[in-house]
Amino acid sequence: MTTLQPPAAAKPRKSRPPAQGDRRSWTGWGFIGPFVAVFALVFLAPIAYSIYLSLFRDQLIGGTQFVGFDNYQQALQDERFWDSLGRVSLFLAVQVPIMLFIGLLIALALDSGRLYGTDFFRITIFLPYAVPAVVATLMWGFMYGTKYGLVGDINSAFGVTLPDPLSSDLVLASIGNIVTWEFIGYNMLIFYSALKVIPNSLYEAAEIDGAGQFRVITAIKLPAIRGALVIATIFSIIGSFQLFNEPSILRPLARNAITTDFTPNFYTYSLSFNGQQHNYSAAVAIIMGLITMVIAYVVQLRGMRKGA
């Protein structure tokens, strides 16, 4: 990659003899070169290209033209975008606490050393995470079926009428259920491994001081895994904002309940692939990326400050 040569402007001034520092920085380039090349190619270039795309507009009539920040302005006033953002925000507000709480509960239970078959439970609870999201959603989609699926079977076996999990009112909760099933094991594993590294001496000290199990949890375990909690929260927030697989796979079963602007990601997908509005879609994607970054960063700041 010849492009990694520093630009001419970076040459040391003639009046001064070459400083040692400069030579050192040359050697440094050589070492980080391969990394920078790959990093720029696979991380920065796509982002730069998206930003570039988002500054244009391509119309069926009239072709492509440069429009500056028009797409961003349009996106900020786009009701469908805000609707979808509202939907994932609601999802996040309900889903993230549930997933973290259950994950934490299971991790603490496994760590308490009072259960038999910990290994078995740990693997079983983690197993859904190993199932590809597509397969998991297809499976749940089948179970949710009110005619020939599990729900339908329960209905006819017990003579009841369960509400349709794929109706407009319930579909978000049904997706939440799938996501919970998929990711609890993952959160549990993060917490569990953080709990495992707490030194035994702390527990011994607690026992000497006469602390009960509950006190041990609040005074030792929770503070010790605060970092893991923050990480899991950030992952969950990003995951919720990026909700895509589940709605897109369930959609053929519930076209009226899952709209093409169901989540921001699904909306950008629809814009791009149904509407051929690649440029506008890029603008929406970048705005969504910024929002996700800001929220994740705020959570991280808050989490770290409390920890300090």
Binding site: M1, T3, L4, P6, P7, A10, S25, G28, V36, A37, A40, L41, L44, A45, A48, Y49, Y52, Q59, L60, I61, G62, G145, K147, Y148, S167, S168, P252, L253, R255, N256, A257, T259, T260, D261, S270, F273, N274, G275, Q276, Q277, H278
Partner: protein, 446 residues
């Protein structure tokens, strides 16, 4: 340290810009798409010389056609790609066209989607190859669809979908209900059936753009008017009112099963008698045979119910053409294949495999009309389909961006199937969303 950072940033900037340049330069090889007439000799010469043609089409009968074609012209290799259909097919095709890479030489395009590709210059005009002289071979509806009302020919019609009402005779016989001949009778039959057995619905409908537009077509509504880049959308004419009044009754009284077409539930419902009728195109029988084998003998075809008694007006549902994407290669060979499949000897072999042709000769042939459908208990269903085809009003047009409009149908009209929204209001919001998109895309929308 600061200097290194700024240098690093500069290096990265250079790299990013380079990457951009690389992607931006990928495009615009000049297209050699002159409208010079191509003589029959050119096509013959190309066939002699040989080459390969990539065909993206999911029409199952093309497999035999491709084999026959290769047998006839041993130097030509037909590379049939049939994995994708519907939305996925169009997404792939649009992406290939905008990337200007991997564009197939021949692509199947349904009539409703032709306008978009024709308008964006994604397809070659086939008139210079002599396609304009084939007009008299085809029935009016499909020909109107491939020409888009102009003197250009964007594809050759492959099949057509004049509508018919498929009904489960076993169910109708069991409850001694007459097969409806008008839509009012249809609503009555729906009530009787559902009353006799609450598990039985007259039809499934959970909101399907293709079905709704076909129903509007039959009811005499003409919501889309297209004149070049001037379009209008209006779902408030008398025909649309006829449809919404009737269909609203079926939805309100929960007489249509909330099942989407082409799902497992749908096939099961067609098979076990809980979905008693299906208004669809004449291409449906082959799908019955493969998708609902357990109900063989139960089903029959009947003419579409009429909006006023005695009226024979019909409509098209589905149907597609084979087109030559502008950026495809081996144009002469590609045209030769399309002509062979949709106008030449290929039509015969496709009809034998259950395709419903768009060519007059085949539609009027005795052997075609007398074909007994084993699946329909030996019924000569083609007589009904051919009659329907003859009664399709050919002044219908789809939007030049129908593919997008259809994709948001369930966001708008779909609400009428699950909530308190009325069908008329649903159609109004579909209209608004279509108009908005049309304007964004630079159309003059009224």
């Amino acid at each position: 340290m600061r200097r290194t950072t700024s240098r690093l940033m500069r290096g990265l900037a250079v790299l990013s810009v380079l990457a951009l340049g690389a992607t931006a330069c990928g495009g615009s090889d000049d297209d050699s798409s002159g409208s010079k007439p191509v003589s029959a000799g050119d096509v013959q010469a190309a066939l002699k010389k040989g080459g390969s043609v990539t065909v993206w089409a999911w029409e199952p009968t093309l497999k035999t056609v491709a084999a026959d074609f290769q047998k006839k012209y041993p130097k030509v290799k037909i590379n049939l790609v049939a994995e994708r259909s519907g939305d996925k097919h169009y997404t792939a095709l649009s992406n290939a066209i905008s990337a200007e890479k991997g564009v197939p030489d021949v692509a199947q395009v349904e009539y409703f989607a032709l306008g978009q590709y024709a308008l964006t210059k994604g397809l070659s005009d086939l008139a210079p190859y002599g396609a304009d002289k084939l007009k008299s071979k085809y029935t009016a509806g499909p020909w109107n669809a491939v020409t888009q009302g102009s003197d250009k020919v964007w594809g050759l019609p492959m099949d057509s979908g004049p509508m018919a009402l498929y009904y489960n005779k076993k169910v109708f016989d069991k409850y001694k209900i007459a097969v409806p001949t008008t839509w009012d009778e249809y609503v009555e039959a729906a009530r009787k059936l559902h009353k006799a057995d609450p598990k039985v619905y007259i039809a499934n409908d959970a909101g399907d753009a293709g079905f709704t537009t076909s129903m509007l077509w039959q009811a005499g509504s003409r919501p889309y008017k297209v004149d070049g880049t001037k379009v209008s959308v209006d779902f408030s004419d008398a025909g649309a009112k006829k449809f919404t009044d009737t269909w609203q009754k079926l939805i309100d009284e929960k007489l249509v099963a909330p099942i989407n077409g082409w799902t497992d539930d749908w096939y099961k419902g067609l098979g076990d008698g809980t979905i008693a009728t299906l208004a669809s195109g004449a291409w449906m029988p082959a799908n019955f045979v493969t998708g609902v084998p357990n109900a063989a003998g139960d089903w029959r075809a009947a003419p579409m119910p009429a909006w006023t008694k005695g009226d024979k007006a019909s409509a098209e549902n589905g149907g597609s053409s084979l087109t030559l994407p502008e950026l495809g290669k081996n144009k002469e060979l590609a045209y030769a294949f399309v002509e062979y499949a949709n106008s030449g000897a290929g039509v015969q072999s496709r009809v034998k495999e259950g395709a419903f042709p768009a060519t007059n000769a085949e539609l009027q042939a005795d052997s075609f009309l007398n074909t007994e459908f084993e699946y329909f208990g030996g019924q000569k269903a083609n007589e009904i389909f051919a009659d329907s085809a003859a009664n399709v009003a050919d002044d219908w047009s789809y939007l030049p961006f129908q593919q997008y409009a259809n994709s948001i149908f369930n966001d708008t009209v779909g609400k009428a199937y699950v909530g308190n929204t009325k069908l008329t209001d649903g159609l109004k919001s579909w209209q608004d969303a279509s108009v908005k998109y049309g304007k964004e895309q630079g159309f003059t929308v009224e």
